[in-house]
């Protein structure tokens, strides 16, 4: 008898939504000791099932039909009080955003013991340190007394897991628990969940959008699109021999992670040379107290040749974005040289920067914040050239050509950013940068906020434009698989320093720095190479 059996569950959307139901007749089984992955893009309704099971559906989303059998009881018929008694005891849930998942005003230990006390377990004093140790958290006794804001994202997620498993639930629901974490921390959490699952024989419903994670942890897989399950099966079947066209397309879009052959670097003066650059940030400190300061970038020397794409890879806080902002002049480092075609950029005044603006441009990460909501797309693209003297009419024509270049119809000129999807907005951002006909393009995590399929299209567009316009590019990303896909050479950054750089192939296949090795090992589903599309 399966632990959890969801039988053609249908949940309606409030009127005016883009489709009638959030999810339609979803059927899913989870047996004890089994990890079932539900995978799908944002908006596919994958979290809906989990929330319905926990009885945490937001108001206004009626359950139209179906049953959720858990250990023989239909959860949908349970009274709120009965459901409440189950939650935390028999079934538990962890969420995506560890930074905001804990009550900031309560000590970590108290929040865990609250879970115990709510279900009548009075042995909190001894249980809490045990639980914290069970999730490999250092010095459990003191950590229990700490407030959440003192813990890192990974530590907080471990606390969430400890809290969820406090009463030994038979079912754990994990709603994208590692999406917000660094790749190394993500791997540790995945291994922790797998280890606890086998030790406690709990059933796990694991929700994600990353096929790498699916490959890493799933026993069985269910793929969802627009609220429907389009394909289910064992991990091996679905990953290596996908039947449904949508699954095939998704898997095809997953970056290979194998380095491409790179062309020879062109000789001559490099486009960009960075030497001995140091940038320190001062934090806190006011009238009286002295604040703490840390060096975001210290020794990160590199060279970038014409037509080449250098990838800067590293976890969050490694200083890769600060590096990019130094090149573009958004941030001024205290020391060091930044040579662009021989001329020094580091300490230029705003007016001195003007001529270089034509040659260096940047594309940003968050599609929803990189475009001014109050200006039309046409104006946004044409603004750059107009600033530098091109007539308005000519600039607008140029903008239409660029829209076509980035595969958007010219009609988009006088529409506003909120009328476009994430992927389309990134393309507009790219068109805006290209309007200046730059020699060097800085791309700061251009695709990390996009769904896998859209990510693949944008990467493809970038590669195509790079070849066609002979662009030199500095590509910042935390996802090694994306870096492998597009970069000729790669530099790995750790806490403000470049620890290793070289040809993408040699760095990926024979890394010589331990940190690069750890990064590579943390790529989820490293062992699985997605099949070539049929």
């Amino acid at each position: 008898m399966s632990l959890l059996s969801v039988e053609n569950l249908t949940i309606g959307l409030p009127s005016g939504g883009d489709r009638a139901n959030a999810i339609e007749n979803v059927t899913l089984q989870i047996n004890p000791g089994e990890i079932v992955c539900v995978v799908g893009e944002s908006g596919s309704g994958k979290s809906m099932t989990a929330n319905a099971t926990m009885g945490l559906l937001p108001p206004g989303l009626p359950v139209r039909s179906g049953r959720i059998m858990f250990e023989g009881i239909d959860l949908l018929t349970q009274s709120p009080e009965q459901l409440r008694r189950l939650r935390g005891a028999r079934l538990a849930m962890i969420f995506q955003e560890p930074m905001t998942a804990l009550n900031p005003l309560m000590r970590v230990g108290d929040q865990i013991s609250e879970a115990l006390r709510m279900h009548g377990d009075t042995s909190a004093a001894t249980r809490v340190p045990e639980l914290l140790a069970a999730v490999n958290l250092p010095d459990p006794k003191n950590l229990a007394r700490a407030y959440p804001f003192r813990l890192s994202g990974g530590q907080r997620q471990r606390v969430m897991i400890a809290m969820a498993l406090a009463l030994e639930p038979s079912l754990l629901i994990a709603d994208e628990p590692t999406t917000a974490l660094d790749v190394t921390t993500q791997m540790q959490i995945l291994r922790l969940i797998r280890e606890i699952q086998t030790r406690r024989h709990t059933g796990v419903l694991f929700i994600t959008h990353d096929f790498g994670v699916v490959a890493e942890i799933a026993d069985r897989v269910a793929v969802m699109q627009h609220g429907r399950i389009v394909e289910t099966g064992t991990a091996a079947e679905v990953l290596n021999n996908p039947q449904h066209p949508y699954t095939q397309a998704l898997i095809a879009a997953v970056p290979r992670g194998i380095a491409r052959a790179t062309g020879p670097t062109q000789p001559g003066e490099p486009v960009l040379r960075m030497k001995g650059v140091v940038k320190t940030y001062r934090r806190g400190g006011g009238l009286f107290a002295k604040g703490t300061s840390f060096q975001a970038v210290h020794d990160a020397d590199f060279v970038l040749h014409r037509g080449e794409t250098l990838g800067i890879v590293g976890e969050s806080g490694s200083g890769k974005s600060t590096l990019a902002r130094c090149v573009v002049g958004l941030v001024t480092p205290e020391r060091g040289e930044i040579k662009f075609n021989g001329s020094e950029l580091r300490a230029l005044s705003a007016t001195a920067w003007k001529p270089f603006r034509r040659h260096i441009q940047m594309v940003f990460q968050d599609p929803y914040a990189s475009l001014n909501p109050r200006r039309s797309v046409g104006d946004a693209i044409a603004e750059g050239p107009i600033l530098h003297g091109t007539s308005r009419a000519k600039a607008l024509d140029r903008a239409r050509d660029l829209l076509r270049l980035v595969q958007l119809d010219a009609g988009a000129m006088d529409r506003f950013p909120h009328e476009f999807s994430g992927g389309q907005r990134q393309r507009i951002g790219l068109a805006r940068a290209l309007a200046m006909e730059p020699e060097l393009l800085i791309a700061d995590e251009p695709v990390s906020a996009l769904d896998v399929s859209v990510q693949a299209q944008v990467l493809g567009l970038l590669a195509d434009i790079r070849k066609r316009l002979g662009l030199t590019m500095l590509f910042i990303t935390h996802d090694l698989r994306v870096a492998a896909e597009i970069c000729d050479r790669v530099a790995v950054m750790q806490r403000g320093a470049i620890v290793e750089q070289g040809e993408t192939g040699s760095v990926f296949n024979a890394p010589n720095h331990t940190y690069t090795q750890a990064l590579l090992d943390s790529i989820p589903g490293r062992h699985w190479t997605p099949p070539e599309s049929a």
Partner: protein, 279 residues
């Protein structure tokens, strides 16, 4: 324009708007509704409402209270609007400078704003009006001086969050001058909270003006609601109507402005709806 549709979905706002339009109309039509000046002694003193052809009764000098309310609307609305514009001007300028430049300038401006908010603002307003002799200009100046700090705080917060937004950095990378960025990129996006604040501030400016003239610090040549209530205070036993009706007028106008403010805040930034407007 779905802005109008979203605004009308807020019933309170629509009622507020209607009341506001009525009050403005009353102010404009005052000379037609009540020919002659509100100061004329049109009847016997302390006439209860309805007697002697006086709709809302007369005051201690036999002046028509209804005429007083109609002409009083002009002063209250005028003072409310102008003082709000002035304090918006000061607040937005200081807030923008502090928010955009940050660092030492931000610290200085914020200390100055905090300092201003520590002084009990109404006591300061009384002092300013009394020192520079009560007149319409000194009242407007006093109200403006005490009501700009909240604007500065809101605008500063808005500018600080927008300044770090990526489309502003993109503009910098395109080589736009800082002034251009502030005027065309940041300000348009910071407008909606300012508009909401403007309507709420007009409401509190009217309250402040009426309190000042209630205490006898109003402009003696201008009939205002506060004046009517003030002169009615000491004769409240003899003539309750002298205080009640102008008070209702103030209440209606200020409530209307607040409702419109709430409607605007929902219509301009829908995601604010679930958080409710800050007071």
């Amino acid at each position: 324009m779905n802005f109008a549709r979203r605004f009308c979905r807020h019933p309170g706002a629509v009622i507020g708007l209607v009341v506001l339009i009525l009050v403005i109309a009353m102010a404009l039509l005052a000379p037609i509704l009540f020919p002659g000046s509100p100061w004329d002694m049109a009847g016997a003193p302390f006439e209860p409402p309805g007697e002697d052809g006086m709709l809302l009764g007369t005051d201690s000098l036999g002046r028509d209270v209804a005429a007083g309310i109609a002409y009083g609307a002009r002063v209250s609305l005028l003072v409310g609007a102008v003082s709000t514009v002035v304090s918006l001007f000061i607040g937005v300028a200081l807030g923008a400078i502090a928010g955009y430049l940050g660092g030492l300038v931000d610290d200085l401006v914020m200390r100055f704003t905090e300092f201003f908010q520590t002084i009990p603002s109404f006591v300061l307003a009384i002092l300013l009006v009394a020192i520079f002799t009560p007149s319409i200009s000194s009242i407007i100046a006093a109200i403006a001086v005490v009501s700009w700090p909240p604007v500065a705080r809101v605008v500063r917060a808005e500018f600080m969050s927008l300044r770090s937004r990526e489309f502003v950095q993109a503009a910098q990378v395109l080589g736009k001058r800082p002034l251009g960025i502030v005027l065309t990129d940041i300000l348009p996006n910071a407008l909606s909270p300012i508009i909401v604040l403007a309507s709420l501030m007009t409401a509190s400016a009217i309250l402040l003006e009426s309190s000042l003239s209630f205490l006898g610090l109003g402009d003696p040549n201008l009939m205002s609601w506060g004046f009517l209530i003030g002169s009615g205070r000491s004769v409240i036993r003899l003539a309750w109507w002298m205080s009640v009706f102008p008070g209702l007028a103030i209440f209606a106008t200020v409530l209307a402005l607040n409702l419109v403010g709430e409607g605007l805040s929902d219509a301009l930034n829908p995601r604010l709806r679930k958080r409710g407007a800050k007071p």
